[in-house]
Symmetry: C2
Subunit: 438 residues, 2 copies
């Protein structure tokens, strides 16, 4: 049993800040929390006492990371989605046939995300089995909770000749082998995930085969869904139905499927996915760059759809989920008020769409855990001790002013204002996993 | 004469990246640059050679900072502008009657902004003369180039009883004394600026008196302009004309006036302000929180209006202009594409509104300098050596990958991805002004 003493800030519900000052968290050898008690009641020695100028938050769950796009993070955002893929992204991902290059990128990506507090990540790897397995191995080695998916894509029009699976049956076989290889690592933290890139990159035979693979293996599924005007219309043109309906038909919209973006989801799609138990990876920055519209997160939550947050590295330009929490609030404000002043106030936005920072943080923790069905996202008994500690002391750059600040304001300052360097400790399943600074 | 050797990245025009690898910058005792030459051609010893993994950028010019709102940065963004002012902001600003509190805030604000590379700031102080003078003194002491304005506000409906000038003539007199006191500091870096808060907070007599004060003293003017639906409509209701027209009538829209926000500016307002030579402080984040719409920066530039960037601390939730550059691109993407997917693709946004990171950085440097009419914003002879150095080395967190990165991508990664802690040196007028880390 390990015991950590800290002040815990969390959002157990979208509109609720939970403050537990000076508590002791106890977790067992598997990293599962067994008790969270006020220090006074808990008594006894602790293994680690965080400084009083530190707050402990539940670990951040990033539902959408394109691992091989790490080297282009923050760049190449000037093109629409279809051209961005062919001009920048597919050529970069194709490089991951070089295992040495892949391993160098993973050795940068994993510490980069862990040091920013991303305790769980859902990864698109590349089409390459060795690079995909190496990513899973890197997650095991660095101790990050992860879902790692070999990307399947075989469509002769939707993919370039230099970066695609040979055909549907070879793609399904490769994905099956990749699942087995990741399972064979024997890690309770790192799981395979079935990953059809998105409908435009996949033939019907591939989508069907991957649906069957998910059925046969019980692995979760991730893909993109109603991401942009172009992609949404493409699926309508190809099938006469939306992404949500098409994915359900192929057996890919399943309980805990992770569907990225969904900015163009209609209400009946929302209801359909909610009743299935699938979830959305809301990627707020990416909504602005490639989505052509903002995912209405408040509306989706009100209809019972599971939603978490994604950085969409590198369709979103920033790593780590604290900045994405702020972006989620920002884009929700844009959706509420609209953007074009030449339209009247009542005609430019969607009233009631705004979320606050608590809801955004809930998405990044509890929301993400519910999408994936994992016991994380909360610092409570029965959940894994996935957590990050943040320094808010006088030298931290997080400006706390007793004259105006209560815990609610301090929480907002932490989420909006903490720099990566303010994060002093990150744990996954009770193991310290960073940050390791020289 | 001082000589610094470095690699310089700058945006001399909105669409142009200028890369000067391994150059020597020479500046005189007044901090004015006399030469910028390739190191090989320059020859001779240098006073400072920046490491090869460092880039030098022109200093950032923040056109809109509410200094007394520093303690609430990143919080209290849940209310519309009028309620936000009365519920959160006026009570906080009223505290600056306490000079001790004011001095403590300034001692946090100045290092906070300088360490983030803000070499020039245009400040709203509070209504209090001592706090305003203390802010100007702090700027002199810390070496920041600044325009410091005592806030004038006397409208019995537009301000609270506990935080307003007694009447217009007392307000004008206080502002005149404040200008004299700041002038008396004798600093070439720190200038007074006439600061009517905004039309709703000022009586006609005050606006008129401050226009005359600007005329008499030659001091620049700053105020808010067409900020939100409410504020824009308020001015239309009060005068039957827009902010731009009203401000011109009161003698407040002048050459180099700094007009904040302007999201609701009509094209004829834009043309009017352009012909006057006034400029806009574009505050992208604040557009989302309080503006109800996004300022169309590309449109304004194309019509010849001067535009720079502002953080709008604390109506914007982040300090420093590098994040605001990214936000400026983000909100311009929202304006281009729109946000509400239920409207058709052609009906939800304003095509052609997107700017790229180069344009955003130009706004933060050259654009801001042109708004103010100051010899800064460029690392070129005849300009002050206002600059910041950023570490992009292997441990910096700025991910440079030779496989995919050229200077254009590195520049974008720096602007989008550098954390405050990556900034290693900041100079104003040739004097090192930070960051001072313990």
């Amino acid at each position: 049993m390990t015991r950590v003493r800290a002040t815990i800030l969390a959002a157990p519900r979208p509109d609720e800040l939970q403050v537990r000052e000076d508590h002791v968290i106890s977790f067992d050898d598997a990293g599962m929390i067994t008790a969270v008690e006020p220090a006074e009641a808990a008594g006894g020695p602790v293994d680690l006492e965080l400084p009083g100028t530190t707050v402990l938050l539940p670990g951040l769950i990033d539902l959408h990371v394109h691992a091989p796009q790490w080297p282009q993070l923050g760049t190449g955002l000037d093109l629409p989605l279809d051209r961005w893929l062919f001009d920048y992204t597919f050529p970069l991902e194709a490089r991951f046939g070089d295992l040495g290059f892949a391993e160098r990128v993973w050795e940068s990506l994993l510490p980069g995300l862990l040091s920013r507090g991303t305790t769980t990540a859902v990864y698109y790897a590349s089409t390459h089995e060795p690079a995909t397995l190496a990513l899973a191995e890197a997650c095991v080695r660095h101790g990050q909770r992860a879902f790692v998916g070999r990307v399947a894509m075989d469509h002769p029009q939707g993919t370039p000749h230099f970066y695609r699976d040979r055909d549907a049956s070879e793609a399904v076989a490769a994905s099956a082998r990749s699942i087995d290889a990741i399972e064979a690592l024997g890690s309770p933290l790192v799981r395979p995930i079935v990953t059809p890139r998105f409908v435009p990159a996949c033939t019907d035979a591939l989508l069907e085969g991957l649906g069957e693979l998910a059925d046969a293996t019980g692995a979760l599924v991730q893909t993109h869904c109603s991401e942009s005007d172009w992609e949404h219309q493409y699926v309508l043109d190809r099938y006469g139905v939306t992404d949500a309906v098409a994915l359900e038909r192929f057996g890919l919209a399943r309980p805990h499927s992770v569907l990225a973006h969904a900015g163009h989801l209609a209400d009946d799609d929302t209801d359909r996915l909610a009743s299935i138990g699938a979830g959305i990876a809301h990627c707020p920055l990416s909504n602005l760059y490639f989505g052509n519209a903002v995912f209405p997160v408040r509306r989706a939550l009100s209809r019972g759809l599971r939603v978490g947050l994604g950085s969409d590295i590198a369709g979103g330009s920033e790593a780590g989920l604290l900045p994405q929490c702020a972006h989620a609030v920002n884009v929700s404000r844009a959706l509420t008020d609209g953007v074009d002043a030449r339209l009247g106030p009542g005609r430019r936005g969607v009233d009631g769409s705004a979320i606050d920072i608590l809801t955004a943080f809930w998405l990044a923790t509890v929301g993400g855990a519910e999408v994936l069905g994992i016991p994380a996202g909360r610092i409570d008994p029965g959940h894994a001790f996935d957590a990050l500690a943040i320094d808010i002391g006088p030298e931290s750059g997080v400006e706390v002013w007793p004259e105006v600040d209560d815990w609610s304001r301090i929480f907002e300052k932490v989420v909006r204002g903490a720099a990566p360097t303010n994060i002093t400790h990150v744990w996954v399943a009770g193991r310290r996993v960073g940050p390791w600074r020289s």
